[in-house]
């Protein structure tokens, strides 16, 4: 009995030890992502920088300055910041535009022109997103990788299943106004 009473004591007094571990673990976990974030940090070309010529790279890049010429980041993400002014042909894996691009844009994954962004030129990309406040003038070429759906036109598309999460870009699921054919 005495021993049995004694036995739980260490377990009661043990919590401080694991607590200190768990405290130190988050600290370690926090410092590790910081380090990783530092390692993965995108390269930033600042507002006052003007580049004339060809810009190549193998890491993600954010441009806030001016570039005249050509930008090529074939396997990486290029972000044109709100202050970025680009007069160039742009090639990247994915391109996010918050500033201005004057030139043709080619992305192997996606072009995303955000609110306030502007593109004057032709876009070639399988996916294109253009926000309502964005400016775009030119053409959009979305090459189809799969065969065309056979009944694209004559029959209305089947109703989509109800989404599990709110999907603001799917207004097709909105109830129709009454009195309209």
């Amino acid at each position: 009995m005495w021993k049995r009473d004694e036995a739980p004591k260490p377990t009661v007094s043990q919590p401080p030890t694991p607590a200190s571990v768990t405290l130190s673990q988050p600290a370690a976990a926090a410092s590790q992502p910081d380090y990783r974030r530092f390692e993965r940090d995108v390269v930033n070309i600042g507002k006052s920088v003007v580049i004339k010529g060809e810009l190549n790279g193998s890491e993600d890049l954010t441009i806030e300055g001016h570039v005249d010429g050509k930008i090529e980041l074939k396997d990486h993400v290029l972000t044109i910041g709100p202050n970025g002014r680009i007069k160039a042909q742009v090639v990247a894996k994915s391109i996010i535009v918050l500033g201005e691009i004057n030139g043709n844009v080619t992305a192997s994954e996606k072009v995303d022109i955000r609110d306030g962004g502007s593109v004057d030129g032709d876009i070639v990309s399988p996916r294109v997103a253009i926000a309502e406040g964005a400016h775009f003038r030119g053409s959009v070429d979305m090459q189809r990788k799969t065969a065309p759906p056979p009944a694209v036109a004559t029959a209305p598309l089947p109703p989509k299943p109800a989404p599990t999460q709110p999907a603001p870009t799917q207004p097709a699921e909105r109830p129709q106004p009454t009195g309209v054919r």
């Binding site: 294109v128 309502e132 775009f136 053409s139 189809r144 207004p171 097709a172």
Partner: protein
């Protein structure tokens, strides 16, 4: 953090999910599916969209047709000329507005743009569109059948394709009001030699007209 903070944060993070825009009404369309069928049987479809750029619609056309879409926002031209006080110059402007080659475009989406043009400008634009449309190509245009009530704020409509049979109508301000509704005969004459192949009068008083350029 309050609910309004959450919403404003969400709007900042997702600018294209604007609540007002997504609340706009969705109406059925009868002619769009026929239009898609008309142009979708080509290898590399070239579309010309004369309305304001709408990302969702571009994505739809890209997914459905794998096409190339030229976006020429003519509403901006109309507004600019109206602000400069030179709406009559539009007819001259349209004569050199389109760099596309003759008979090079498979399909043209005019939406309701002709509603905002006077007769001369409308004819000049129709002439150019007829020129660049390839034989067998299709042109889709909307016309209102009723006049706007007096005192109505002038506004364009941004047509967002939600699927092949529905369009969301998102109004936005215009510099000048709609012209008087065109009758059938005027519409047919304006687009000659195109032929009206389908015509739908919707309960929303919009007439959807699908034209086709005769082959040869």
């Amino acid at each position: 953090m309050g609910l309004s903070d959450l919403f404003s944060r969400r709007r900042r993070e997702h600018p294209d999910s604007d609540a007002g825009a997504s609340d706009a009404p969705v109406y059925p369309t009868k002619a769009l599916s026929t239009f898609l069928a008309s142009v979708g049987n080509r290898q590399q479809v070239l579309l010309l969209d004369l309305g304001p750029v709408v990302g969702q619609s571009l994505t739809f056309f890209g997914e459905q047709l794998g096409c190339k879409v030229f976006v020429e926002d003519l509403a901006k031209d109309i507004d600019r000329q109206a602000v400069e006080g030179k709406p009559d110059d539009l007819a001259v402007f349209y004569a050199r507005r389109f760099p596309q080659e003759t008979a090079s475009i498979d399909g043209i989406l005019c939406w309701d743009l002709f509603e905002f043009l006077d007769k001369g400008s409308g004819q000049a634009l129709a002439k150019q569109l007829t020129r660049i449309l390839r034989p067998g190509g299709a042109l889709l245009a909307f016309f209102n059948t009723t006049e706007e009530p007096p005192g109505t704020k002038p506004q364009y409509t941004r047509y967002v394709v939600t699927d092949a049979s529905h369009l969301q109508h998102r109004p936005y301000p215009a510099q000048q009001p709609r012209q008087k509704p065109l009758n059938n005969r005027d519409i047919q004459r304006m687009f000659e030699p195109l032929r009206v192949t389908e015509q739908f009068l919707l309960k929303s008083t919009v007439r959807e007209v699908l034209f086709r350029k005769p082959a040869g």
